[in-house]
Symmetry: C2
Subunit: 319 residues, 2 copies
């Protein structure tokens, strides 16, 4: 059957509107967020992390979270995700009708305290409480526990692989539907990615979630390739590489969605995303954040001579 | 045995002084080239492509090629390489006492005519003539045929894999000691890299040479990983990513040596190169080419907390 009608091989989960926008100083106006999300959807992206539910005093960039979710929900076929750091955030998110929650839990004891001011054990209890609330008021919503600092921590350095497997297993035991691994500070390498995803899969099977890789030291795509090689099929990335660690000046953060989609499509691994339309989604991003640097090698170099892409986005959305 | 005393797992072949310097407008003064090469050697690099032997009217940046070779030869244990596009260049190079020649031969018919004004068949005859000369006057010198545009061509688009295998096989039949594959314009993807290196190895066995990858669309390291996965153990790269295609503004060219070494060392694949000393070699590069942009994610981000590297460069040189 033609590649345009088959189901894509991988799921690209766009995190720019959450991970990207919460990492920059400026606040993108709500109307610009809507236009950006619309353009992302038009490219064929099927899952977008649109916001985080955190107190506006901490992250004014996310003060319009509920509005943004409601707008994103108008796109049929789109999985609308939100980050929630705790039960209170989950309660707000679940009221909006969001499809999926992601909860950041750290494998590093030091990062857990610094990031969410809770121990790892307390975060597992938080996951359990959020699952209980979800079961009561919105049982159709999926919950992902994303293991931060899974490949190393800027505070404590090395993170034991046993700790990562332990966290993933306990989050699943607490009721999370899936658990992915995040390279929060860009310390992962391909050998480690293969080893750790294999270990996590041995522990939690097909509840193994996304690879969330950063490009801090240039290894983002190599790490995504390594994850793909061992069976990972969901990849977080950010349009224009927006976001990542605001405390590493000059070092870009998230894997660039445009480059990731180019890599997979060039390999013959279908993403369901149309690259030209994806690159067109940079315009509303830049319009909404004037002066903010955006990254991406494929947009700078352009598509190679002779490039063809079979996918007809957004046909992939009509499931 | 300690990792510092074992032979490194991979060979990083630094091409900056040739591929980098011939791609920038400015000419690095000879004394600065010496200082840069000295710093590269001090980091533990064991093979450097130091110049190309081409008419100075075409490439004034390479007018001091013979002097540069003679200086590089003062470093014991270093393999000194030079690029030669034809028999006349080879004659000049062999007179200097260089250890290894690399001859660029295109898999793309269009690129072959544009780059060296010869057909592919004529280039195979040129390889044969260079081999004959080498056998007569410097039989200890190794000859590599580097297959340009092996993964695609900016002029003709797709390059047939059969053409690449044909070129590699005929260069070896003409007497070349090895044949590597170059992604001249950054069109390669990891699936293609694995497939094509496997096919070439099936044809020419352990005469399969280096992977010369570009980072034009951000896939440079992923392609090196893919090549490593199928048994490639020599990798070309350029300090600071200097060089590449001068006709692709904004698109960086060669894989960045610093990031490549970081990737392998982080994976536990030893390179024999000390990363701190390698990054220190950026200073003489920048001093010799004021204002020229240099790239590299690892130098920008710095080494991760807890980073240790067992290798004690340049101990690896004392073979």
């Amino acid at each position: 059957m033609p590649s345009s009608s088959r189901s894509p091989d991988v799921l690209i989960s766009e995190v720019g509107p959450r991970d990207g926008l919460q990492s920059v100083k400026a606040t993108m106006p709500t109307a610009d967020k809507f236009r950006w999300i619309d353009a992302l959807v038009a490219s064929g992206l099927r899952e977008i992390e649109v916001c985080s539910f955190v107190p506006a005093k901490h992250l004014p960039q996310m003060a319009d979270a509920a509005e943004v979710v409601r707008h994103a929900l108008t796109h049929p076929g789109l999985t609308v995700m939100a980050l929630v750091p705790n039960l209170r955030g989950a309660e707000s998110a679940l009221k909006t009708g969001v499809h999926k929650l992601t909860i950041p839990v750290s494998a590093s004891a030091a990062h857990s305290l610094a990031n969410v001011r809770k121990t790892r054990e307390e975060m597992i209890e938080e996951v359990r409480a959020i699952v209980r609330l979800r079961d009561q008021i919105a049982p159709q919503v999926k919950i992902e526990a994303g293991i931060s600092t899974a490949f190393g921590c800027a505070l404590q350095g090395v993170v034991a692989e046993d700790d990562v497997v332990w966290m993933a297993s306990h989050c699943i035991a607490a009721g999370a539907d899936e658990s992915g691994l995040s390279d929060t500070t860009g310390m992962a390498n391909p050998a480690q990615v293969r080893r750790l995803f294999n270990r996590v899969r041995a522990a939690i099977g097909d509840k193994t979630g996304a690879a969330h890789m950063h490009n801090t030291r240039g290894l983002g795509l190599a790490n995504c390739l390594a994850a793909y090689d061992v069976g990972v099929r969901t990849f977080d990335s950010s349009l224009g590489g927006l976001g990542g660690c605001p405390y590493a000046p000059g070092a870009s953060g998230n894997v660039v969605t445009e480059d990731l989609v180019f890599m997979f499509e060039a390999m013959g691994v279908s993403t369901g995303v149309n690259l030209e339309k994806l690159m067109a989604a940079r315009a509303p991003l830049m319009a909404g954040l004037p002066g903010e640097p955006v990254y991406g090698m494929t947009p700078e170099a352009g598509l190679p001579k002779g490039w063809t892409q079979a996918v007809q986005a957004p046909a992939a959305l009509t499931l």
